[in-house]
Symmetry: C2
Subunit: 211 residues, 2 copies
């Protein structure tokens, strides 16, 4: 494998955008492409807990804005993805594994072992919730980087009222709202990136410490 | 902004690796570079809840393997990052904002508003825990993609005993173990990528549904 500086530059170039150009939509093809990128994300036992509601309709955007405490970027962005995590993702594993066995990506014995082990681990509701949150977040990050790579801007919002969101968008109890990811074209390019803590403020070797 | 196909290819090329070459280490410079990539990740109010323990020492790798239910990749990988989320990340916000104001990235009035709002939201332990999990997961995804871009392989492990992990690595109650991310050189390149659900199986427009 060789070094790919292009991604490392993209990573440093990307910054969260709060003001989008409301006159530039994304069509369904572009939105599907972004989701096809996001689902390249790895997940525990390949359960793929992530689900996406792409909010593009003007009335629905208003409703989303209300659930997001009035944050305007969900109205102006071309699309805001409500990223969900499936709390019962485990139920899909036999079908997921069946397809993986059929295409030769997974030996049948391993598939059965995975299903037993996954049941043992994610039978607990708390563990299932953590995993839904993890998988949904991992996919959200891929989605934001893919948006940057495709020439769009993005911004994540974790500030929303989950009850109101679920009510407004018919989100079943089965799904945990993980994050909102707004994607579109930026209105102004003058956004300043927030500085980060230094590497040595967040990293230790072989032992944890007080960071 | 222009389209960057290189990242989209990297994303499709990357697959989770379980067998690493134990003879090829990564030095501290390389490990710091990976963390400097990971911390480009966005976070709520720029709190940057992520912390990283880079496990490279042979004895510590054995101990990590025991906490990870015997999964060998943490022994063979050059480094496994224990990704932590700071449950009290909010405490660092005034210092983070002070630096952002000083370098001109954040207006002083906005900094104060952020601190009030963040206190309101993450004063609740449950919300703080969710945010630590989210931020740690987002950073983990960036870390895995950065590893790929730098010519390494990676694999995430969410199967570990958190109590044992915290005991073995002196992890304070303040930090939530989010994920283990093993990074190194792959031993065999014959790993098959697991197939994914189709886009239309995980995506809906404007309304949630049963996926």
């Amino acid at each position: 494998m060789s070094r790919d500086d292009s991604f490392l530059e993209l990573l440093r170039r990307r910054t969260s955008i709060e003001t989008f150009d409301p006159t530039r939509p994304l069509d369904e093809v572009a939105i599907r492409e972004l989701v096809s990128d996001a689902i390249c994300t790895p997940s525990s036992f390949n359960i793929q807990h992530w689900r996406f509601v792409a909010v593009t309709d003007d009335a629905e955007k208003q409703s989303l804005c209300e659930a997001a405490y009035g944050q305007r970027q969900v109205v102006d962005a071309a699309v805001t993805f409500i990223v969900l995590g499936d709390l019962l993702g485990l139920e899909k594993l036999p079908e997921i594994n069946k397809r993986a066995v059929e295409c030769g990506a997974l030996p049948e014995g391993k598939a059965q072992a995975w299903e037993r082990l996954a049941q043992e681990i994610y039978g607990s509701a708390a563990a299932a919730r953590d995993e839904a949150m993890r998988s949904g977040s991992l996919a959200s990050m891929t989605l934001m980087l893919a948006a940057e790579a495709r020439g769009y801007a993005s911004g994540a919002l974790s500030g929303f009222d989950p009850q109101r969101l679920c009510r407004s968008f018919d989100i079943d109890d089965r799904y945990l709202p993980v994050l909102l990811v707004a994607v579109g074209y930026p209105k102004a390019t003058a956004t300043t990136r927030q500085p980060r803590l230094d590497v040595d403020e967040v990293l230790s070797f072989n032992r944890a410490r007080r960071y």
